[in-house]
Amino acid sequence: MNLNFLNLLSRMPSACAQGILWGLMALGVYITFRVLDIADLSVDGTFATGGAVTVMLIIGGCPAGLALLVAILAGVAAGLCTGLLHTRLGIPAILSGILTQFALYSINLHIMGMKANQTASLKKYGMFFENGKGFLVSSRYIPAAIAVGLVLAGIVIFALYTYFGTEQGSAIRATGSNHAMASAQGININNMKVLGLALSNGIVALSGGLMTQFQGTADVNIGRGAIVIGLAAIIIGEVFCDLFFRKGANFGIRMMFVVFGGILYYVAMTVILWLKMDPNDLKLFTAIIVAIFLAVPYLKNQAKTSFSRAAKHAADGKGEK
C-alpha cells in the first residue's frame, strides 16, 4: 500500500471546513436529541432542503447570504410540519420525522426543478468578499470557509445559549427534562416541542445551505444519514467535553464541543479514506461507531449493576460472611 502522509495533511483543512459545517448541523440535532429528548429524523430531508433552496435562489440571482436566510425559513417550515404531525395528530415523534423526511424528497426535487442535482458555479457568482453577494463558503477557498464556518458556528452557539437562558427557551428545556413538571407549571408542552423542532430544523437547513455552497452543488441525496452524522458529532463532542470538564461544562461549552465533534468526525473519515478504505463502507463504520458510543453509558451502568455480576458476587462470596 502506498500511503503518503503529506497527502493526508493536505486533506486536513478541507476536512476541518466540512467538519465545522456539519458540526453546525449537529447543533440543530443537539436541540432535539439532547434538549427536547426527541430523535428527529426529518433532518435528513431538511438538510437537502436547505441546499436545494440555497442553490435555486443563487441561480435565480439572489445573494448567497439572503438565500441562506430563506433556507433557514424552509427548514423551520419542515420542522413545524414534523412538530404538528407529532403534537396535533398524535403520531410518534420518530415516525413524524420519517414522514417529513420522506415527503421532503419529493419537495426537494420540485424545488430543484425535478432534477436530482443543481449546480451554481463559483466562477459565475464569485465569493462574497469579491462582489458582496457571492458564496459565503467554497471548497476553493478553504481558509475562508473555515473562518466563515467558525464565525457562523459562534453566532449560532451564542444565539442558542442566550435563547435557552430566556423564559421561553427554558420552557423548552423543562419540557424535554420533565413533561409532568412543565405542564404543572403552565407550560404548553406541545407548543414547546413544535418550537424546538422548528428551531432545530432551521439550523439544519442553514448547514445544508452552507454545505451546498461549499460544494457548489445541491444534491437531493446530500442529507442521507445526516442524523447519524449529527449524532456522531454530538457523542464525540460530549466524550471530549466530559474528559476536559468532567460533568461541569455549561450549555455553551457543550455546544462548542458538538461542533468540535463534527470536525473530529470529518477528520476521522478523511483518515479512513486516506487508508484507502472503500468510501461505500463509511456509513457502516459510522453506524458502528455511533452504536458503540450510544451503548457505552448503558453498558457502564450494566457493568455496575447486572444480574450476571450479582450472580458472580454471590458465587465468589460462597462461605464468607
Binding site: Q168, S170, A182, A184, G186
Partner: protein, 264 residues
Amino acid sequence: MLKVNNISKTFNAGTINEKKAIDGLSLSLKEGDFVTVIGGNGAGKSSLLNAVAGVWPVDSGSIELAGENITGLPEYKRAKLIGRVFQDPMMGTAPDMWIEENLAIAMRRGEKRKLKWMVTKQDRELYREKLSELGLGLEDRLQVKVGLLSGGQRQALTLLMATLKSPKLLLLDEHTAALDPATAAKVLELSDSVVEKNNLTTLMITHNMTDAIRHGNRLIMMNAGHIILDIEGEEKQHLTKQELLDKFAEVAGHQEETDAVLLS
C-alpha cells in the same frame, strides 16, 4: 374558592376494564380551607385531584375555581391558579436544570414565557431566602442540577415551587408517601407552615389517618368515587382514628370493611 359540581369520570368506558373513577361528586371549598382526603385504594382520591388539575377532562359536571369556570381549560392553562405536588418526588422538578432554573420556571407559572433572561439577580435573592426557609441547605446550591438531590429535597423543592407564586388552590397528592418517615414528617411540617403562612386553600390526599386528622380544618373520606364523609371544624379536631374507622364501616357498609383495614 373551589366549586366542584356533580362531576363524573369513567375510564375505558364500554370495555371490560370500565372503571367509574368519580361518580357524581360535588365539593365546595371556602377560601383558606385545608382539606385532607382519605379513602381506600381506587376510591377516587387521585382522580378527584386530577380532575381539578385538568390532567384529563371530566365526562360531566363543572369545576369552578376562584370564580372562574375552568371545566374546559387544559392542565397548562389551569396551572396559573393551581400549585401541585405529586406523589412521585421525581415528577415535580426538571432534573436536568439547576435549582434556580426550576424556581424561575415556577415563578412564572401560568404566565406567558417571554424572551427575557430567566434568572435575574433580584430573583436569586428571593430564591435564596425561600430556600433557606426549607432548612435543607439548598440556598447555597442554586446552581446544582436538581437531579442530584434526594427525593426528600426534591419534594421540598416541589412544594416551594408550587407555592412560590401563591396559587388559588394547592393540590398535594400523597406527597409524602414515597419518603422515609423522618423526611415525610419534615415535608408535612413544611406544607403546614406554607399553607398557614399564605392562607392557601388546599386539598391533601394522604394514606395516613393520623396525618389526615392532625392536619387541616376539614376531612373528607371517599369511596367508589363518592364523598362518604365530610367532617370539619370542632368535630374534626376531636376525631380519633378509631372513630374514623367506625364511621367508615358505618357509612360504607359491611362489604367495605376490608377496605377499612387497608386504610389503617
